[in-house]
Symmetry: C2
Subunit: 162 residues, 2 copies
DNA sequence: TATTGTTATACTCTATAACTATA
DNA sequence: TATAGTTATAGAGTATAACAATA
């Protein structure tokens, strides 16, 4: 069964169907806010990601940086931060940690002495292979959690153009 | 934040002819992770919520507590926290703040002297009316951001089981 | 013993400001 | 003046542990 089976007509939803945990409590008008459900799902994703990636001790933001540096070698911290919506102050400290683990190297940029060229190290490349396998396992769990059809549709909708 | 930074750059693009700013970077395998797009949209939602609700200085978690207490008057902190997935330690401090603002009252529970019965005060009820109007404005912006069809579909899908 | 609410600590993430060294 | 990177601080959110009062 790929989709929900028992959801019937649109009824006034107090707590029907949506019963996270608090035995019998109503959501109230929270039921009308997409942001609430988005947040709950997003928390599930982060918790599962962190748990699944625990063997490599990698958090979601670090993973996103590793993938973007891999896909765009030699770019500056500013560029990577802009891409991912990470403040440059925050990224500086994150990179400090990734450099300490010898996964990422900061190199001089010939054209602008202010900026750093970011690259994965050989060790970082090997680590990222393992990390990707674990992240793939997480994605499988998420697909299972949502149902394959929903997972694909959500990915298309959130990724694609309006 | 622009809509482009949320859903933009879905396809790996080379940075031909672009300035060395963030806009030409490839997502790499991030493109396959629903969690990434979920996170970006969720951040947009929180930022817009906080901005829109600024006149009342209410944050998303506080809003969710106010709505659940309104919909379930007299319930305990434990019940409300379980419902929303908020740690009881965190909720205790949040309620301290909401009590300080005279929006929520903690009353004795006749059956169990350990637990508190939570209720909106009259003042909290009036404040919540204003807050709901602002939150509605936020939801309209979100609907516009996503497109009405997508907003509705996402709400149905995320709200339902699991 | 277990549960409710409380305080305290630690860590992550976000948002600033201020600083340096370059441009 | 402006930009790239760094350091520092403050606040929210999360995850714990320990505690008092009560069950």
């Amino acid at each position: 069964m790929t989709s929900r089976s028992i959801r019937g007509a649109a009824k006034p939803r107090t707590q029907r169907g949506t019963k996270p945990r608090g035995n019998g409590l109503a959501l109230g008008q929270l039921d009308r806010h997409l942001g609430y459900f988005l947040r709950r799902l997003q928390l599930w994703v982060f918790q599962d990601f962190i748990e699944t990636l625990k063997p490599m001790k990698v958090r979601p933001a670090q993973y996103s940086v590793l993938l973007v540096v891999e896909a765009n070698p030699g770019r500056s911290q500013q560029a990577v931060g802009d891409m991912l919506g990470i403040e440059r102050a925050r990224l500086a400290r994150m990179l400090h940690e990734l450099e300490r683990r010898k996964w990422i190297g900061r190199h001089a940029n010939g054209h602008d002495a202010r900026s750093h060229s970011l690259r994965l190290t050989a060790e970082g490349d090997r680590a990222l292979s393992k990390i990707k396998r674990l992240a793939g396992r997480h994605e499988v769990k998420l697909r299972k959690h949502l149902g394959a059809g929903r997972h694909k549709q959500l990915l298309d909708w959130l990724r694609g153009p309006p």
